[in-house]
């Protein structure tokens, strides 16, 4: 008897639940699933929330921040509708996708060096110093080279703990690209990649930009690289770096925009800026891309994706600044809009 009543209750609960689930999918909105880089994740989630409102819930985009490596893997494996990566895609990866790949830069940002030294703001790191820190050659905060660049700042006698990424990262790709460009030692010892074998002694690994920022925050004496927006939102002190022209530039909208200004976007939409020219340029900037299939599952989906891209290029760029990202220059926006017609 008890078994029967239990079964009855379970059955009615199941029926009720299925009605609830069916009810929540009222007007059959188009659902787009995307996954990838953590670098632009904060601004992407803002964009997509706003986009859903603008389309009255007809197009819902769900973006999961899992790192550029995960984005590329899922895109190649066809488990998502679009991917995102700050390392774009290698030719060998593009070749694995039979439907064709359309890479579109959506936004750009500065990669900053954040640190955890209570009471010390705006640390200056010259061009020959910060690669050495990440190589593990400079191991203490009060090393002569750092002290020389920061007169008047009392640097403690603590070991430097370097925070790096534990996952495959487009941010790592951009950062190591820059370090390889300015330091031949770094290029031969570590090189550029989405995942590299760091040679520093005291290391801590963080997952995604979030984990790196969190690790820097919790580890006294830590130094690491992350996207500007993350450092800004979490009030992490960032270092002012010496750029190609020999000037110290602190991270910020002007430095980032100047660094990006001279970028020329080729046909395949992929360009990496390893060492920008200009007095006011911040030295480490990178675009971040969304990857789309040239041939999609349905024309409906393709149209929704094109609408999404258009929104990001028009409305989306307006909040880039406030969020800590660099608005795309007009010339770039034009090119991207033209290329987005390839999403069919």
């Amino acid at each position: 008897m008890k078994l029967k009543s239990l079964l009855n209750v379970a059955l009615s609960a199941a029926v009720a639940a299925s009605f609830m689930i069916a009810g929540s999918a009222t007007a059959a909105p188009i659902k787009i699933t995307g996954a990838g880089a953590s670098f632009p994740a904060p601004i992407y989630s803002e964009w997509f929330k706003d986009f859903a409102k603008k389309t009255n819930g007809e197009i819902k985009v769900d973006y999961q921040s899992i790192g550029s490596g995960g984005g590329i893997k899922n895109f190649i494996g066809h488990t998502v509708d679009f991917g995102a990566s700050d390392a774009a895609m290698k030719q060998s990866e593009i070749d694995e996708v039979p439907e064709g790949v359309q890479l579109l830069p959506m936004t750009a940002g500065a990669i900053v060096i954040a640190y955890n030294l209570p009471g010390i703001d705006g640390l200056k790191l010259p061009r020959n110093v910060y690669p050495e820190i990440f190589l593990g050659k400079i191991t203490k905060w009060n090393d002569a080279k750092i002290v020389a660049a920061n007169p008047g700042v009392k640097l403690p006698d603590t070991p430097i703990t370097v925070v790096v990424r534990s996952d495959k990262s487009g941010t790592t790709f951009g950062f190591t690209g820059h370090l390889s460009a300015i330091s031949s030692d770094f290029k031969s010892a570590v090189g550029q990649g989405t995942m590299v074998q760091w040679s520093a002694g005291n290391m801590v690994k963080g997952k995604k930009n979030d984990g790196v920022s969190s690790a820097i925050r919790q580890t006294p004496g830590a130094i690491g690289y992350t996207e500007y927006g993350f450092a800004k939102l979490n009030k992490l002190p960032t270092a002012c770096l010496e750029n190609k022209a020999g000037k110290f530039v602190c991270p910020g909208p002007e430095g980032g925009a100047a660094g990006l200004a001279n970028a020329v976007l080729p046909e395949n939409m992929i360009v990496f800026i390893d060492d920008p020219e200009g007095d006011t340029s911040y030295p480490i900037v990178t675009f971040t891309w969304m990857m789309f299939y040239k041939k999609n599952k349905s024309a409906e989906l393709a149209e929704a994706l094109r609408n999404m891209v258009e929104y990001c290029l028009d409305e989306g760029q307006k909040i880039a600044d406030k969020a800590g990202y660099i608005p795309l220059p007009e010339s770039v926006v034009e090119k991207v809009k033209a290329a987005s017609k390839n999403i069919q």
Binding site: M1, K2, L3, A17, I21, S24, A25, K31, T33, A35, A41, P42, S45, E46, K49, K60, D62, Q64, I66, G77, H78, T79, V80, G206, K207, K208, D210, G211, S213, S214, A215, R217, G229, F230, L233, N234, L236, A323
Partner: protein
């Protein structure tokens, strides 16, 4: 009392005597050890209530996760609670019939055959299966086949973890049904199926439910199987898409630098632990009824 040249031992307790002293010291150490072992539990609970409780409002149950730019105190994880409930529900729907039916065969119909021995061994092995492997397996057979992440994949991964527990506890419960009941049922002319469904299972039900509740408690807290089957989502439940769950939420936001998300992670942990504790205590109360 009187000295007779014989040393008789004092018959009162002599705490300072070496052997007794040793015993008392060891007892003291043991008490300290027992208290120390309880400290982590209390520490976890206190931290949960303190840091999670700060954020505990009804808003948590019907709002969606916040974005990075939302101000502090905004957002909730209603979709995660729903997602966990849905996926555990699917896992239960798969594992409970599976486990009970297999347990019936093992306990009742053919307990000593080779097949039963092998099946029992398989079930015991599966209890020790690392949860990440269940996730990898479900990824290979569901996500890759369906072409996208979904709640179904998450549910199937969780069911792999629930089946052995349900099966083994159900087997024990059925074995414990007193023989006179079986014999009486057969004496009435019941077929084995009828005796099972009408007599044996109802009597074994408290034991079986104990096992199911324990398995559900375990599945609700599992993260690894859901990491690459259901992924995560910031919108409401949609079974054919990536789905949020409490456990993955806690995992994702534990390494987040945003205070808001860390607070929400603590609040989610609080809700999860309270849920699991209630289920555990429930299973013990039901199980206790058998012993009467």
């Amino acid at each position: 009392m009187s000295q007779t040249g014989l040393e008789h031992p004092k018959l009162e307790r002599q705490p300072m005597e070496p052997r007794a002293l040793k015993s008392i010291i060891l007892s003291g150490i043991t008490i300290v050890c027992a208290i120390t072992a309880c400290i982590p539990l209390f520490s976890v609970l206190i931290m949960l209530f303190y840091r999670g409780g700060k954020r505990l409002t009804f808003q948590l149950f019907y709002t969606l996760p916040p974005g990075a730019f939302d101000s502090a105190g905004v957002g909730g994880f209603g979709n995660a609670i729903l997602g966990t409930a849905f996926m555990v529900g699917i896992a239960g729907l798969i594992s409970v019939p599976f486990g009970i039916l297999a347990a019936i065969y093992l306990a009742e119909l053919d307990p000593y055959s080779k097949i039963s021995e092998i099946a029992r061994f398989c079930a015991k092995t599966m209890t020790g299966l690392p949860s990440i492997i269940a996730g990898v397996f479900a990824y290979a057979i569901v996500v890759l086949v369906m072409g996208h992440y979904s709640a179904w994949a998450g549910g199937i991964a969780l069911s792999l973890l629930m089946i052995p527990t349900v099966m083994l506890t159900a087997e024990e419960a059925i074995k414990m049904v007193p023989n006179p009941m079986r014999e009486a049922a057969y004496g009435m002319g019941c077929t084995p199926a009828q005796s099972l469904i009408k007599v044996i299972l109802p009597v074994a039900m408290p034991g079986i439910i104990t096992g199911v509740v324990l398995a559900v408690a375990r599945a609700a807290g599992e993260t690894a199987p859901l990491l690459f089957t259901a992924l995560f989502s910031e919108s409401w439940l949609s079974p054919n898409d990536p789905t949020a769950s409490l456990a993955v939420l806690i995992y994702n936001w534990s390494s987040s630098p945003y205070e808001n998300l860390i607070e929400l992670a603590w609040a989610a942990s609080l809700i999860l632990v309270v849920l699991v504790f209630i289920l555990n205590i429930l299973s013990r109360t039901i199980g206790g009824k058998i012993k009467r």
